[in-house]
Amino acid sequence: MSAASVRDGEPTRELTLSRAINAGLRRALESDPHVMLMGEDIGRLGGVFRVTDGLAKDFGEDRVMDTPLAESGILGTAVGLALRGYRPVCEIQFDGFVYPAFDQIVTQVAKLRFRSEGACAMPIVVRIPYGGGIGAVEHHSESPESYFVHTPGLRVVTPSNPEDAYWMVQQAIACDDPVVLLEPKRRYWDKGLVHTAGAQAPHPLFAGRLVRDGSDAVLVGYGPTVRTCLDAADAADEDGRRLAVVDLRSLSPLDWPLLVQTARRIGRVVVVHEAHRTLGVGAEVAARITEECFYALEAPVLRVAGYDTPYPPSRMEELWLPDVDRVLDAVDDVLAW
């Protein structure tokens, strides 16, 4: 496939997910002088995953700022910058490093609009590479989304593919609410076509998508597990089972109309995420679907998730993470009900 082609009359480029975010950040920096990036090693180095590669060179150190190594400082100063009219995009280098900033995110960023009765918007984006599967050392593979989804005042979104990544980062930056953008780090190198010249995002930021239709069961994933769900659906197809796949995309808010409608139509639901099972996003999806679709369900909503242990040593992460086999086992269970 060529690096550039035309789709729907608009030029597209084949990009990895990380390059798609880079292109989205570049476009946001170009279109609004108040957008600025802050983080550790994001300037000269271009980020440890090179997501911000080249941006400091083109936009200057004031707008692509290598910060001191203190995550609370990144978010705390971002609050002040936002109060002054800036739109800071903060990179947290790895999921497991967000906790020093957790207080500023939960106590200040999430609450200031509420406390000020609308006077203080917090248009801050917190970019976090998250999830496992890259053989990393401790604290580099976690899925902390529930903490943020559980916090009123925050929005939480996560792309699963380059096209979404390109648009979602721009939409998050344009959003006047604080957005935690979770980037599935093991999908950074996945390639896909991206409408880089499009005038407008193809989907709303806070909407899920039915990315594959089916009739026997629906798999609900987000971020890194959408690929897992699609692979599982391909495998099931060979056995004559037609599985639908929903990509949640937004974890706060969740797209309840899509979920409820799909659950009612298909009647069997399996939620798949890397985060620990207990009180994970899957628990909320299961509870809500049970409340709203009880009589349409053919089976209980099942969850395929990370186990309720801290993230394990990487040599066993493939066993720990939800994979196609575990998803298909759950499909067997809902179909056998």
């Binding site: 001191p68 609050v79 002040g80 406390r115 309840w256």
Partner: protein
């Protein structure tokens, strides 16, 4: 304490200071300016006294008294230019007063009718921050924004701006305050850290927070620190003016340690008799920030009985307005609480709002008219 900047002794004697005298030359030259500072001190103290009483009467859930810290707060508050911005703790009632925030707006948080109370951009004063030290980072970030706006070091007094971060001695142990020092130092941000060292962090004395005088910590972060008599409004005005001017002209951050004393309890929920002795208060009573200005005014013949009587009357009017106004503060609207969680009300929150509105209506129906 030889390293303490003091312009007015506890007895109200004006002492010369080559460095800081020029920063209050206008006050020295104009008795009306000194009387204005005295008026601030008296009215702020009276407001605080009424608020403590309102808490005792059950009208406020809590109050954090500023008793003893009026000089530090009025000095720092009056040092600010209109377009400067300050980030307070929850005890900066004197600063709020100087920034034109109505005392009734300050009461709202403590009465439980709001979590904010005023529009920060209108007053150049951020909302009170309760989690200790967080606001030092907000102030630093705001100052970084001022830099990016090109509002530092232009020489235009209407353009150049500075930011003032308030916190106490306890907060200097917080990571956020230390991170703010690092950020401000590295970025040379136009922020002044104004630490009111009131000697106590609830029950913990200063020795629990530091092995060296707080102002000397600044040196390690790469900017100057100064200790000022926090009970001397004139010295606080001078030192803060100098520090803000320095920040505005692009010379970077500074730490001001206002050495003062919390004469009251930490809050109305606290019982300081459990951890400190009366003799300590006696010693600090002799250094009262309000009395020394009165003594200075009288000594110089700058205040007559009529001025003092009129000020008393004004304080009485303020007290009455605070007493009645507090009871009339509007209750929070249960439905409106849902409006500002996000930019727009989402369907889930709309549903929850409608539910609470129904419940509130049921409660209203049960109350006899």
């Amino acid at each position: 304490m030889s390293d303490l900047v003091q312009l007015l002794t506890p007895e109200g004697v004006r002492v010369a200071d080559d460095t800081y005298d020029p920063w209050v030359a206008d006050v020295d030259a104009d008795p009306a300016a000194l009387r204005a500072l005295y008026r601030d001190l008296v009215l702020v103290r009276r407001f605080d006294t009424e608020a403590v009483a309102l808490q005792r009467q059950g009208e406020l859930g809590l109050w954090a008294s500023l008793l003893g810290q009026e000089g530090a707060q009025v000095g720092a508050g009056r040092a600010m230019a209109p377009h400067d911005h300050a980030f307070p703790t929850y005890r900066e009632h004197g600063v709020a007063w100087c920034r034109g925030v109505d005392p009734l707006q300050v009461l709202g948080l403590f009465r439980g009718v709001t979590l904010g109370g005023w529009d920060p951009s209108q007053h150049g004063l951020h909302l009170y921050t309760i989690v200790i030290g967080s606001q030092a980072l907000h102030a630093t970030g705001y100052a970084m924004g001022v830099q990016r706006d090109g509002a530092v070091g232009t020489g235009d007094p209407d353009r150049d701006a500075a930011v003032l971060a308030f916190f106490g001695d306890g907060a200097t142990s917080q990571g956020d305050v230390n991170e703010a020092f690092i950020w401000a130092g590295v970025t040379n941000a136009p922020v002044v850290f104004f630490c009111q060292n009131n000697q106590w962090a609830i029950s913990e004395p200063l020795e629990r927070q530091t092995r060296i005088p707080l102002y000397r910590r600044a040196h390690g972060f790469g900017f100057p620190g100064v200790r000022v008599d926090g009970n001397d409004v004139l010295a606080c005005l001078a030192v803060t003016r100098a520090a803000l001017a320095r920040a505005r002209d692009g010379s970077g951050p500074m730490l001001v340690e206002a050495f003062t004393y919390r004469m009251g309890a930490h809050t109305t929920s606290d019982d300081p008799t459990r951890y400190r002795v009366e003799a300590e208060l006696e010693q600090w009573r002799l250094k009262d920030p309000v009395e020394r200005v009165k003594a200075h005014l009288l000594r110089g013949g700058h205040a007559d009985p009529l001025f003092l009587a009129e000020l008393d009357a004004e304080a009485e009017v303020l007290a009455e307005r605070v007493r009645t106004g507090c009871r009339r503060l509007p209750e929070p609207d249960p439905a409106a609480v849902f409006e500002h969680v996000y930019e727009a009300l989402d369907p889930d929150l709309r549903e929850q709002r409608d539910e609470i509105a129904r419940l509130a209506a049921l409660v209203d129906d049960e109350v006899p008219a």
